[in-house]
Symmetry: C2
Subunit: 341 residues, 2 copies
DNA sequence: AATTTAATTGCAAACGTTTGCGGGAACGTT
DNA sequence: AACGTTCCCGCAAACGTTTGCAATTAAATT
């Protein structure tokens, strides 16, 4: 049904008895073409519902005005804010966005990179799969076209990276607990040494050090996935200690919420007995009671900035830089760390 | 840095001293080509990191192997499950996906449709912006290429539509409350007559009728946006009534959670005094205490099925159908409607 | 040895667009 | 009248790929 009645330059040209090039130039408002001709061309183009074939266009110009984005998991709220930022900024600059999900699988991730290369995107925004150990395909891509890492990054890839200032964020979260008078602050982090987890741990350590609090390894807890389930479990571990902590910094809102759930169940008062701080500012953090103190990561902003840097690299065909841009976060203090009523 | 060293068929051809067509055929495993040549071609192609230029390809074949998806808001959890389903199924079939967000703005939506048309996607999956009143661009697109509506749909567009069986879902939710012995069931719906809201309301009405319960308009509440804020507000409205309802069916999890929050604050026991049921099975529904009974919408499945139908329409260049496919939902019973301990 | 057949490969056109270059008409300048 | 400008416009090549058809070679048949 569809393919027959597609309007091309040629069709307009024959219709008007002029050449294809004239039509092309008229439509792009080339000074060589008389106003009258432009008028006529634009008119028939509109009448015939002409839409330029971007394929033919991109085919010639080697520009697709499209960027590719690969994220580990599209269904995390934070991820969707990242995408929002990227898409918004992309649209503002006349770029289309192709989104893919690696599902935290590095093979899938490599495959997606290939596809995007084939597709001829002008640049790629990549947030790494958690398990990435083989960087070959990424480095290959980097040699071919602009690529920027964001959110989940790695020092193994020499390119521009846009991240939140994890260390600083964690530092401030813990600092906040200390200023509240807390002295024995547990942390829940990832077993595996992911970039984000390690940075947040470093922030935790620095806060302790700054305040001359000695590190107690027995309240440094880890788990494979830092989910609500694990938060619940580690919560019970914590309250069954002879020497209970008086605060918990969980590297994830989900885990923090899990902790709160066990504390609630065991009638341990939050924050007076144990205060809790999370990380991400999920929607859930205002659902749980008491509402969760947490770090707000400005996903939109990260996405926005990542796109801007990518655009710059696309336009200036310079050599690749490898600076790291750190976006500052906000500590949002709520009831889980501050007596509200 | 990038554009110079791109491998084309020609490069491989000259390298091997054969013609371009031979290389092309060899790579696509055409029977005309001898095994030895195929071998050599494949080898050099690999060595030179050949990636086919999909633009040249799509340019000739008029097929881009790409579909466009437009959703109102990418950051809703349910939306991301829809996208997940679509992307998964698309990948399985060798399709790329372009995602866009209309931000519930019908002009933006029309613009996105145009862009996708220009881009030459093979088909479009559209979830309508809430405010859509002008269907011109949609109908135009429909005349040009396969388009399927999903989730947020409208009868004004004569095409295949994939939705959840809203009416049935609502019916079962309310039926469940009635079976629990509830007799005076309030509903919180949208002021504006959106498709989804109306269908759910119809389900509510049918459940009442089936059980010979008379409709009491005074406990049919509406609000512009059915957010947690509004849920809280309408919750206070409900409990300040002389003749309080003994259950609330909220058309949205957020609103339901808002209601629970006010009930909790006012020490009204859930579910014994007032039971609450939501709709969507958000993550938040297991964060709130008591955990929320709600309707689980299988987003993945909807996405999957929508893509399949689209693919069918892409392949069979038949005339457009306009059947509606309704996906069944699951009622998930939790503590907000059932005494657990 | 001559002819047919089969197996490989190359030629060239086509897809829709952009763009450097050249050409004709109209006008003004010597 | 001859020349130079300026203003419009068309020709044709190019982008990388696929594909119908023709061409070449080798093998098989007579």
């Amino acid at each position: 049904m569809s393919k027959k009645n597609i309007t091309t330059l040629k069709k307009i040209a024959t219709e008007l008895g002029v050449s294809i090039s004239t039509v092309s130039r008229a439509l792009s408002n080339h000074p060589d073409i008389s106003d009258e001709t432009k008028q006529r061309v634009n008119e028939t183009a509109k009448r015939l519902h002409y839409v330029p074939n971007l394929f033919a266009k991109g085919f010639r110009s080697h520009k697709t005005s499209t960027i590719g984005v690969i994220v580990p998991d599209i269904s995390h709220y934070f991820t969707s804010t990242l995408l929002k930022g990227i898409m918004q900024e992309a649209e503002l600059n006349g770029y289309k966005v192709i989104v893919s999900e690696s599902r935290n699988n590095e093979y899938k991730q490599a495959e997606m990179l290939q596809t995007m290369n084939q597709f001829g995107v002008d640049g790629i925004l990549l947030s790494l799969a958690r398990t990435t150990t083989n960087f070959d395909e990424i480095l290959n891509t980097l040699a071919i076209r602009p690529l920027i890492l964001f959110d989940k990054v790695s020092t193994k890839v020499p390119c521009t990276q846009v991240v939140i200032d994890e260390e600083d964020a964690a530092f401030r979260a813990v600092q906040h607990l200390i200023q509240l008078g807390k002295k024995r602050i547990a942390i829940i982090k990832e077993t595996e040494k992911s970039f984000n987890s390690e940075m947040r741990y470093l922030g935790y350590l620095r806060a302790l050090k700054t305040n001359n609090i000695e590190l107690d390894e027995s309240i440094v807890l880890s788990s494979e996935d830092i989910s609500m389930q694990q938060g619940k479990r580690l919560g019970t571990v914590l309250i069954s200690m002879k020497n209970r902590p008086d605060a918990v910094f969980a590297i994830t809102d989900s885990a923090a919420i899990g902790v709160i759930k066990t504390l609630n169940k065991n009638k341990i008062s939050i924050p007076s007995e144990i205060a809790v701080v999370g990380f991400s500012n999920n929607i859930s953090s205002i659902i749980i009671e008491p509402k969760l103190t947490t770090i707000d990561q400005p996903g939109n902003k990260i996405g926005e900035i990542a796109f801007r840097y990518l655009l710059e690299e696309i336009n200036n065909d310079t050599q690749i830089s490898n600076k790291t841009i750190e976006i500052k976060t906000n500590l949002i203090v709520r009831d889980s760390s501050f007596k509200s009523d």
